[in-house]
C-alpha cells in the first residue's frame, strides 16, 4: 500500500525493510505524497533537517511518519533547491513545529508555511546564523543582538503570567493566560528556555558509543527511554543482534522508569489539586521504586546501563528476589491509595470534564501517549512497533474515551499496574545468556529510526550514521513536543484555577522539548506572531 503510493509519486526507494522505509521524493510531489500517506493512516511523527553539503547533496529534509497499519516508519526525504522546500504544514498541521525548527536551525525556507517565525532560537540571536549547519562549530557563541519588545496590552482581560518561574511548573516555560474573572479566554505559550544544543554536541564531538549517555541526560524523568531509542536506532542501522537477556533487562528497566515517572506525575497532580496528603503518600511509594532502581543499576535515576549492542550490568538471583518482594508490597499500597483517591468526590469533580481534547483534534495534532489514550486514540509503540522484549510479553493498553483530565489520570494509573505485571512477567521469563554483543560493524551513511514508548508517549530518534565512529545527524523527538499544541486548546474556556492541572495533565517534560502556539480569543487559529502582535 505505502509502496504503491510512493512509487506512483516518482519516489526513489533508498531503504525498505520490515521496520523502516526511506524514500526520496521530488519536491513537486512532496505534498501529494504526504497527503496520501496521512489519509492512509500514517500520522506525522517528526521531521529533521540535515546539512548534507559534505555528502554532496545539499540541504535535505526528512519527514518521518509512523504507520501503524503496517507497523513501520516511513521517511520521505526532500532535497532543497535554492534553500527552498515546499511545506507540508498546510496539509498536516503536525509538521508546523518541525519545519519551523529546521528554518531556525538550518536556514531552509518552507514555501507556504503559515507562520514562518522563530521557534527555538531566542529573540536576541542574530539573523542569518544557523547553528545546525556543518560550518557552525559547536562551541561558537555569536554576539547578542538587541531586539525590540513591541507589545500592546490586551484590554478587557487580565494577563496572568504563568512562568517562567511559577510554583505550578517544574521547569521554566512561559504560559501567558488571558483571564476574564476566572475564565481563561486565551493562552500564549513560548518555551525553549532550556535548549541545550544536544544535537550539535552529538554531531560535533561525541562518538557513537558516548551518545547513549548524552541521550540519557535529555530528561530527568524519562532519560532511559531516550537512551533505548537511540541505541535501537543504531542497532537497527548496523543490524546488530542484541542478546535476548539484554532485551529483557532493558524491558525491566524501561517499565521501572515508567512506574516511577507515573508515580511522580500522580503525586504532582494531587499537589496541584491541593490534596497534599495524597502527594506525600504517592511519593513515599515512589521512593521504593527509586530504591529498586538503585538495587538494579547502582543509580536512582540516570541508569547508564545501555551500550550499543546490549546492557552493561546483569541482574543476578539476589536482585531478582529483592525485586519480586518489593513489587508485591507496593502493588497493594498503590491500589489502596488510588482506590481512596478515586472515591473522593471533590477530587473527581476537579478532574472530570476539565480540559477536554476530542479524538479528531488529537489525531490532527498528532498527540501521543496517555494524552492520546485518554482521548480514545489507540496507539502504543510497544504494541504497534514491538521493540526490546515486548513482542514476547502480554500486556493491556488502557484506553479511555472521555478525553478529560480524569481519563488521563486513570490511564496512567492503569499503566502503573500494567507495568508491574510486565516486570513480573519479564522476571519470570528472563532468558540466560550474554548481555552484550560487541561484534558489529558500523555502516556509513545509513538512515535509521528508533522508537520507544516513553512514559509520556512515543519517543522517536532519527539518526544518520556518519564516518568513523561518529553520527552525521541525530534528531531526538520527545513525546511532549507533539502533546504541547494540545494545551492551548484544552485551556480555552476553562477556569484559571484549573489551568495548572490541565497543563500538567499532558505530563509536560519541558526538558525534553522546548517550542509556540497562539490562541486568540474566540477562534483557534495559527497566526503569525507579527499579525498577532499587531492585532493585540
Amino acid at each position: 500500500m505505502i509502496l504503491e503510493i510512493l512509487k506512483s509519486n516518482n519516489a526513489k526507494i533508498l531503504r525498505h525493510d520490515e521496520k523502516v522505509t526511506v524514500a526520496l521524493v521530488p519536491n513537486d510531489k512532496l505534498r501529494t505524497t504526504a497527503e496520501l500517506l496521512f489519509k492512509a493512516g500514517c500520522y506525522y511523527a517528526t521531521g529533521a533537517g540535515v546539512d548534507e553539503r559534505l555528502l554532496g547533496v545539499g540541504f535535505s529534509m526528512y519527514h518521518i511518519f509512523n504507520c501503524e497499519a503496517e507497523g513501520r516508519y516511513i521517511i520521505i526525504k526532500a532535497v532543497a533547491s535554492n534553500l527552498k522546500i515546499p511545506s507540508i504544514t498546510p496539509i498536516i498541521s503536525g509538521a508546523n513545529w518541525a519545519e519551523r525548527e529546521v528554518m531556525d536551525m538550518l536556514g531552509i525556507f518552507f514555501d507556504e508555511h503559515p507562520e514562518p517565525v522563530r521557534l527555538i532560537l531566542p529573540d536576541d540571536w542574530p539573523e542569518g546564523v544557523y547553528p545546525l549547519r556543518k560550518d557552525f562549530r559547536y562551541n561558537e557563541r555569536p554576539p547578542r543582538v538587541e531586539f525590540e519588545q513591541k507589545r500592546e496590552k490586551k484590554p478587557g482581560v487580565i494577563e496572568v503570567p504563568v512562568g517562567p518561574y511559577h510554583p505550578a511548573l517544574h521547569e521554566p516555560e512561559m504560559f501567558e493566560l488571558y483571564v476574564k474573572g476566572e475564565e481563561i479566554v486565551g493562552a500564549v505559550y513560548r518555551g525553549f528556555h532550556i535548549h541545550r544544543g544536544m544535537e550539535k554536541l552529538a554531531e560535533g564531538r561525541m562518538t557513537i558509543n558516548q551518545i547513549p549517555f548524552l541521550a540519557e541526560r535529555i530528561c530527568g524523568i524519562c532519560g532511559y527511554t531516550h537512551n533505548c531509542a537511540y541505541v535501537q536506532a543504531i542497532e537497527d542501522a548496523a543490524k546488530i543482534e542484541v542478546p535476548e537477556r539484554a532485551l529483557y533487562i532493558r524491558t525491566i528497566l524501561l517499565e521501572l522508569e515508567r512506574i516511577h515517572s507515573h508515580m511522580l506525575w500522580l503525586g504532582v497532580a494531587f499537589h496541584l489539586l491541593g490534596f497534599e496528603s495524597g502527594f506525600m503518600h504517592t511519593w513515599r511509594i515512589r521512593e521504593t521504586f527509586m530504591d529498586l532502581a538503585e538495587l538494579l543499576t547502582g543509580n536512582r535515576k540516570t541508569y547508564g546501563m545501555n551500550l550499543i549492542g546490549g546492557v552493561r550490568r546483569n541482574i543476578d538471583e539476589n536482585k531478582k528476589k529483592g525485586l519480586s518482594e518489593i513489587l508485591d508490597k507496593t502493588k497493594k499500597e498503590i491500589r489502596e491509595i488510588f482506590d481512596n483517591a478515586t472515591q473522593m468526590r471533590e477530587l473527581i469533580n476537579r478532574m472530570e470534564g476539565i480540559g477536554v481534547l476530542s479524538k479528531k483534534k488529537g489525531r490532527e495534532i498528532g498527540v501521543v501517549g496517555p494524552t492520546a489514550r485518554g482521548s480514545d486514540i489507540d496507539t502504543d509503540v510497544r504494541r504497534d512497533h514491538p521493540y526490546a522484549a515486548y513482542g514476547d510479553l502480554e500486556f493491556k493498553v488502557p484506553i479511555y474515551k472521555d478525553g478529560d483530565v480524569l481519563s488521563r489520570f486513570l490511564v496512567r494509573y492503569e499503566e502503573v499496574l500494567e507495568s508491574i505485571w510486565l516486570i513480573e512477567q519479564a522476571l519470570d521469563q528472563l532468558p540466560p545468556g550474554d548481555i552484550l554483543n560487541e561484534e558489529y560493524e558500523l555502516p556509513e551513511h545509513t538512515i535509521c529510526v528508533g522508537a520507544t514508548e516513553a512514559p509520556r508517549g512515543e519517543d522517536v530518534h532519527f539518526a544518520i550514521m556518519g564516518e568513523g565512529n561518529k553520527v552525521y545527524r541525530w534528531h531526538p523527538r520527545a513525546p511532549t513536543y507533539n502533546n504541547l499544541p494540545a494545551v492551548p486548546i484544552m485551556l480555552k474556556g476553562e477556569k484559571l484555577a484549573d489551568a495548572p492541572i490541565i497543563i500538567a495533565s499532558i505530563d509536560p517534560c519541558f526538558s525534553c522539548t522546548d517550542h509556540i502556539v497562539i490562541v486568540d480569543g474566540e477562534k483557534v487559529y495559527r497566526c503569525s506572531l507579527d499579525n498577532y502582535l499587531g492585532g493585540l
Partner: protein
C-alpha cells in the same frame, strides 16, 4: 482587676496562636507519614520574617499598601477584647457580637485593599476570590448571629456565654463550626491563598515584616474563632474553665487539621455553592429557634 485579666488574655493569644499553628502542622505531617517540623517552628518562621527587610513593588499605591497589614493585625487584636480566651474577662455591651463581625470585616477589608493596591495580577485575582468567599460566609454568619440572638434573647456576649442547651443551639454551633473552618483559610477553603495556582494570591507582593504581620493575623483569627465557639459551650462560672478551654483548643486543632489533611482544594464556585447550601440549612435552623426549640 479586670483590665489585668483582659491583658492576660491578649498576651495569651499573642503567644499561643503561632504555637497552635505549629501543633497543627505537626499533626498534618504525622498523618502524611512524615516527621514534620517542631511545634515552635511557626514562631521561628515569624521571627525570621520580622527580621527581613520589606520589598515594595513599584506600581503599588504606597500608603494603602503599607498601612494595610497594620490595620489588619490590630483590628483582629481588638476583637480579643470582646471575646475572652483564657480568663473570663472582656468588655461586653449590647450588640458587641455585631462589633466583632465588623472588626473581622474591617480586617478582611484592609487586607483586600492592601492587596489590590499592590498592582499584581495574582493579588487582584486572589483578593477577588477572598471577597467573594467573605460575602458568602457572611450570609451564613448572619444567620448564625440571628439564631443565637433569638436563642439567647440578647445581643451581648455577656449574656450569651454559654448558650442554653437546645436543638437549635446545637445546630447553630455546628454551623458555626463550618464557618470557622471556612474563615480560617484552611484547605479546602484556602482558595484565596492557593499556592500552586495563584502564587499565594494577595500575599504575593508582601515580604518581611508586612508578611509576618499578615501571617500572624491569620493565626490570631483562628484562635479568636476557636475561643468564640468554645465560649459558647463552656459556662463562664465553671471553676475548671481554664482546663476545659485548653483541652477544647487542643481538640479543635486536632479536628480541624485532620480534616485539612483529608481534603483537596475547592474551586471558588464550588466553595460558594457549599456555603449557599449551608445558608439554606441555617434558615431552617433559625426557624427552629424562633419556634422555640
Amino acid at each position: 482587676m479586670n483590665i489585668i485579666f483582659i491583658a492576660i488574655n491578649l498576651a495569651f493569644a499573642l503567644i499561643i496562636a503561632p504555637l497552635i499553628d505549629g501543633f497543627e502542622r505537626k499533626i498534618r505531617a504525622r498523618l502524611q507519614n512524615r516527621q514534620g517540623p517542631s511545634i515552635l517552628q511557626t514562631w521561628w518562621d515569624l521571627i525570621k520574617l520580622f527580621k527581613r527587610p520589606t520589598i515594595e513593588p513599584q506600581d503599588s499605591v504606597k500608603p494603602l499598601y503599607k498601612l494595610a497589614p497594620y490595620i489588619t493585625f490590630t483590628s483582629v487584636l481588638a476583637a480579643y477584647l470582646i471575646i475572652p480566651t483564657l480568663l473570663p474577662a472582656s468588655t461586653n455591651f449590647i450588640g458587641d457580637l455585631i462589633l466583632v463581625v465588623y472588626l473581622l470585616g474591617l480586617a478582611t477589608l484592609s487586607f483586600v485593599i492592601g492587596a489590590f493596591s499592590s498592582g499584581n495580577a495574582y493579588a487582584q485575582i486572589g483578593s477577588n476570590r477572598d471577597v467573594s468567599l467573605f460575602m458568602s460566609e457572611e450570609l451564613l454568619l448572619a444567620f448564625i448571629i440571628g439564631t443565637i440572638a433569638v436563642i439567647g434573647k440578647s445581643l451581648s456576649f455577656g449574656q450569651l456565654f454559654p448558650l442554653p442547651f437546645r436543638i437549635s443551639s446545637v445546630l447553630a454551633l455546628l454551623l458555626l463550626f463550618l464557618v470557622i473552618y471556612v474563615a480560617s483559610t484552611r484547605l479546602p477553603f484556602d482558595i484565596a491563598e492557593a499556592e500552586p495556582e495563584i502564587i499565594e494570591g494577595p500575599l504575593i507582593e508582601y515580604s518581611g515584616k508586612h508578611l509576618g504581620l499578615l501571617k500572624y493575623f491569620v493565626f490570631l483569627k483562628r484562635l479568636l474563632l476557636y475561643s468564640l465557639i468554645l465560649d459558647f459551650i463552656i459556662p463562664i462560672q465553671n471553676p475548671i474553665r481554664l482546663i476545659c478551654y485548653l483541652i477544647g483548643i487542643i481538640i479543635l486543632s486536632i479536628v480541624y487539621s485532620t480534616l485539612e489533611a483529608y481534603y483537596g482544594r475547592f474551586r471558588i464556585d464550588q466553595a460558594i455553592r457549599i456555603l449557599k447550601r449551608a445558608s439554606i440549612v441555617a434558615l431552617i435552623v433559625w426557624m427552629i429557634a424562633v419556634v422555640g426549640w
